[in-house]
Symmetry: C2
Subunit: 228 residues, 2 copies
DNA sequence: CGCGGAGTTGATGATCTTCAAACATGGTGG
DNA sequence: CCACCATGTTTGAAGATCATCAACTCCGCG
């Protein structure tokens, strides 16, 4: 359970459906985390389940030489932190200032809950995680830097519902650790794509706002699977 | 549903627990597949669930340029083919001559089954898949060829219960497609490890039998996560 | 106004891939 | 029975890609 952090509102939010899919209601509390703040650590007890309300979260593992593999980015509407075992297998950090709603794991996942539809809904959430991990696998396997970056942009574009301007919450380093590349390679690849006219980098200092000019070409670069 | 293949026994196997964990019984049939034979294809209806009895299975996706990413190897005792959606997201093939037991998905996963403990057991199976996918993710991210091959050997060694001689069912190409490397790199890395005295390649033509001489050193090469 | 985090760009080098050839061995057919 | 072949593996040489090291830019902020 996270500690009471400064600025959190700690409101008791009652009778809210779990992500719109679980029939049983659960009690949620709102917490706020600042940019870079840890939400939970690897190997900590997995007592809670989290939903992103605003902001963004990264979940990752650290390797002993300091390298980091980001398993997923969590955006508003996403659930994260669900585990079957008692401990978290990743560390979760707020990428930017982030608001999450937190509920006790047992309130949706308990021994006591004998409601089958709820368990099935948890199943769907876990399955979404599984599908994401599997797609991510495909991405990290045999793909080039260009393909990975294109796939990343396409994924973010889709998850943010193809906005006019794609506003990335994460820095280049995060993208690199998600894609198994270095931040320099990510930067160069983005510059290449801009030179090819496929996107425009903007947004002041950090170039974290991106205008995509050809979603179809981008998808073509990213879409390596056989048309199914 | 697989077609009746030559040599299959098509026996009705009754009242067998689902992998020893699901309380409800299900009817299973035994099927045999020959080396290289497809068990199900990507995007086919996911009507059945499979358990490996003997042999080995690979599940993968094909990319449009012929590259292949193997998502998992399934060994005796493993369940595979469980999907939430109606279609398989991978292709499954027998790596060697393989015996599987097959049951209808709905017999363990149906709308009609209102037994919560069964649903929870399915949850555990899905979660095992999720955990494997996540570990695989960590492997494919920032690791070198040496680390990947070492991790692969350690994984296989553990899953086969650390036998005296590790008998790999798969060819170098399969290993390469699992690790996101080329088969030449896998071969070279294995040779390097042999030169360093960490293992001995044997087993006739294909060198698919491996004697590990230092499991601890191998684990050290593979184990990149911070000690937790 | 200068500091500093984040990003870009360049040069160099290591690692891995690619292309190619040789090798080993189990199976097959004359 | 043995030559031959197919498959899988190993090894070598050359080349491409990406990582590393480094310099420099940009801009927001104290």
């Amino acid at each position: 359970m996270p500690e009471i952090v400064k600025g959190h509102s700690n409101v008791r939010l009652e009778r809210r459906d779990f992500h719109g899919s679980i029939g049983e209601t659960a009690f949620w509390r709102e917490f706020k985390y600042q940019r870079g703040q840890e939400i939970y650590g690897e190997a900590e007890p997995a007592d809670c389940v989290y939903e992103v309300i605003s902001g963004a979260v990264r979940t990752f593992v650290l390797l002993r030489d300091g390298r980091r593999q980001i398993g997923a980015f969590h955006l508003p509407g996403d659930i994260f932190g669900i585990e079957i075992d008692d401990a978290h297998r990743f560390t979760a950090e707020a990428i930017v200032n982030t608001t999450v709603w937190i509920t006790r794991r047992r309130s949706i996942f308990s021994e006591g809950m004998e409601n089958i539809s709820s368990t099935k809904d948890v199943l769907k959430l876990i399955t979404r995680n599984l599908h994401h991990a599997e797609s991510h696998l495909m991405l990290l396997g045999p793909q080039t830097a260009l393909e990975r970056v294109a796939a990343f942009l396409a994924e973010m574009d889709e998850r943010l519902q193809s906005p006019t301007v794609l506003i990335l919450p994460m820095i280049r380093r995060d993208i690199a650790d998600y894609l198994g590349l270095t931040l320099e390679t990510v930067s160069r690849t983005l510059s290449d794509l801009q030179r090819k006219g496929m996107l425009t980098l903007q947004g002041g200092r950090n170039h974290r706002e991106i205008v995509l000019h050809s979603r179809s070409k981008l998808a073509q670069l990213a879409l390596l699977r056989l048309t199914s």
